[in-house]
Symmetry: C2
Subunit: 520 residues, 2 copies
Amino acid sequence: MKTSQVRRTIINKVCTELNEMECRPPIKHVYITVEVKPNLADDPLVVGERYSHDNLLCSWSNYLGQLTSGILILGLKDGTSTAKYIRENKSTRAYRIKGVFGLATEDYSKDGRAIHQKKMFELCGVDIQSQTAYELATQGLMRPATSKTPLIYGIRCIDFKLPEFTIEIQCINEYEMYLKSLIHDIVAYNIKKMTTDSDLKVLISSQDLRAILDEDLQLNTFVNDNMNILDDVEEVIPEQYDDVPSSEDYSGPYNFDTFIDPSGNKNWMFSAMLNKVYIINHSNFSVDFKWDFPNDKIEFYVRAMPIYASPQDAHKPVTCCIQHSQSTERYNAGLPKLQRQHILRSISQHARYTGGADRHLSVVLPLGNPQTGMETVRHTFNFVCKNSCVTGINRRAVDLIFTLEDIEGNIYGRRKIGVRVCSCPKRDKTKEEEEYKKYHGQPGPKSKRRKIVSTKKLSFTDPNDVGLYSINLEVCGKKNAKAIITYARNLMASEVIDRNNDEPFRSCFNELTNTLKSYE
Amino acid sequence: MKTSQVRRTIINKVCTELNEMECRPPIKHVYITVEVKPNLADDPLVVGERYSHDNLLCSWSNYLGQLTSGILILGLKDGTSTAKYIRENKSTRAYRIKGVFGLATEDYSKDGRAIHQKKMFELCGVDIQSQTAYELATQGLMRPATSKTPLIYGIRCIDFKLPEFTIEIQCINEYEMYLKSLIHDIVAYNIKKMTTDSDLKVLISSQDLRAILDEDLQLNTFVNDNMNILDDVEEVIPEQYDDVPSSEDYSGPYNFDTFIDPSGNKNWMFSAMLNKVYIINHSNFSVDFKWDFPNDKIEFYVRAMPIYASPQDAHKPVTCCIQHSQSTERYNAGLPKLQRQHILRSISQHARYTGGADRHLSVVLPLGNPQTGMETVRHTFNFVCKNSCVTGINRRAVDLIFTLEDIEGNIYGRRKIGVRVCSCPKRDKTKEEEEYKKYHGQPGPKSKRRKIVSTKKLSFTDPNDVGLYSINLEVCGKKNAKAIITYARNLMASEVIDRNNDEPFRSCFNELTNTLKSYE
DNA sequence: CAGGCATGCCTG
DNA sequence: CAGGCATGCCTG
Ligand SMILES: [Zn+2]
Ligand SMILES: [Zn+2]
């Protein structure tokens, strides 16, 4: 379109629409007799400067405390009425407030004079309501006389990385000192909990926040009945924050247990010997969860967290490799970056993905209830990254920890299984089982082995020469190859007889029999 | 900062600054006698609609042609003076104009009536300045009488993918028909070049653009003396656009050749048999380039372009895998995304990286001159991605094409070598050479193998039973293990004697000897 | 650096 | 799906 057209269009539009509006009546014809002389009453020398501070009206819609940053709406002159309107409209404000455990100051601000940590514990180790010290600390509360009681519509902990945490609050009638005191109380509450409860874990759950608000008479808060706790669209997913997650099996008060169909299918196998799943990448596998129903109806969740099996890697979160966390991968379509970092995915829509940064990643889902007549509920997962992925797990062994939890992340049971996401589950399972047997034997053989010692051996068997030797050799000619295997089998046969079927001679013999068959 | 402070600051500032400005004189004291009746002269019925087109002033700062998109600055009413100010400030405008080879239209626009291609060639095959037809075509030039001669500050070709190309121009005093004509002339110039030069390659170099502007009297352009040409930070690098790059060796007029030190080093090896480099990722390797010096001093460049060796992949560009193109990799630090896609890097600072999108990627660098007494110049490269990278080359074979080129990308010579970026160059080289010998034989081994056939064998050797068998077995007891290896060695020993030291019996025997030693 | 394992992937 | 190759990487 040409510029001139644009111009014409704009002029047309403006004029047409202005003319369509109700227009002012014709001006009156005014006949005026005018006589002009200076009005001394309006001279700056008389009335002062034209623009005085008092004349320039200015008011704010929202008040930001000295330590608060955000949008500050000010109205100037005629704008003051708009500002007043906005102010009286009482729209809720949202704050994100950062707290630091172990950093208490006299005025609760980051830069305030520090209270000695010991004193802080003293302050907090007893009932905070009855504490004179506490009252002294909060006496600078400076509550504006004109304001109403704060009313909280929503509160949650949106970040928690000791010693720091961040609380998000939606509220009205708040004032800065109120918010600061609230943070102080959250810390105090947790420290008190730490010293009374034996559990040393610090967590800021929604329940905690609610309890703090309810108990905290000092702060004089109204809590909206519909206050957002977990039903918020961005619900609070409890995380587990241990550097090295515990992986010990623990049945707990509800006899928590997990089961995996030992028969597997073509995409995955389960080794009962190693308690380990071998699975092709991107394949679904199901886990059955069993637990006793408590009398008090607790809503249970199950968390599945992959961790590195070896102690030297256990503290590192297991994250998806570069390739398998690409947003262009089919199974990552539309997922947020955090979730793409998870190697384990649940097929449930209710699954929530937690962890990230340098924290362990895990998926949490509501456990639900067994169907009538069932003792277990089944949940289906899949992995999207292989143990062998160089930019991810990089060939390290991985365990999967299932924990039975309540909505706050309290743990009531734990089960561990090994997991290997690979291309040849069967081969790798067999190999690892063989490897395991080499070093551990298995129940049967073990009792038998004891028998060895007690059994009289023929003089030409050496009781100490029982190490396993893997021989890899290459010969030319099938005839020769068969001859060697036959020879080896013969040797093992003598040993089996001489040593009363003793292991591992017996299994070596059996294997060689199979190998020989394969040459027919 | 407190809200009240902000408010005070604002009021202070506004009042202070208003008061510092020249203020209106005291109002006059006015004595008025008023008599009111309708003023018919102001009635819409008399004077017409309140807001007339003529009253709404509107002017533009920059003029966008009918086919041009971009920001159009319009001033309304009082804004017209601002618009005029901006217009007269003559800031340079930047345009990106797309042209299409083979699509000529009467008015040079994309949607104009097409000129038959044959006619277009007629038009362009002769001197464009003297062409009546050309003058006719440009007679609709519509040059605004008020404007000055266009002045170009910068011009370059920023995209070139036949048949389309995009020219970027910084200029003042331009008008749309001028820009369209310029594009037409660029096409005409190239077609003329194609028909006069024997070389059919079309390229828009900076030299070309300058030549077009200089020659093009019709367009009446001023070229700023400091006009950006090749010294621009983003210089024009000629690209090669063949879907499947040619890979035939071609010495060309200057006897172009490449040499690679056949002795290699610990990080790379060269197979003369396969004309292939085997190299560990991220290792430098050098190529010596040789060519005859022409009488006319041509500035030569060498281009190195990796391509897939197999015909079914040769049309695809060889790009770096996801992992090795991460900006977080040390060797990618600070590189633009395009360059990170290149698997081949030159250590020269003068190297330029071309290609991208679905075009083949290559690195071009000035060849330079041999040092005194030398016949060749050496350039050093390295690869940053392995043949085995799954998200990149994915185990496909890759060739490296070196071409001798001038600054416009005209090719004067070509050499191909195979390349394999891997973790075990020696092993892989040996293997591929063995494989090659198996199918092609080579003087030494082949004659020996022939000898086998001619040699009289003992009756109890089977000439067909010569396959290699890898035997993996497990026995218990060191004594037994040694016995088996000894047995195998004995078998091979007989064969070696019976078959006149024939391979692979001999090497099996040697291996077994070593294995047996390891049991001592 | 050779030997050999680990593990993806191709082939029949 | 088993067998076996391909190829990175670890170990001595
Ligand atoms: Zn992966
Ligand atoms: Zn790579």
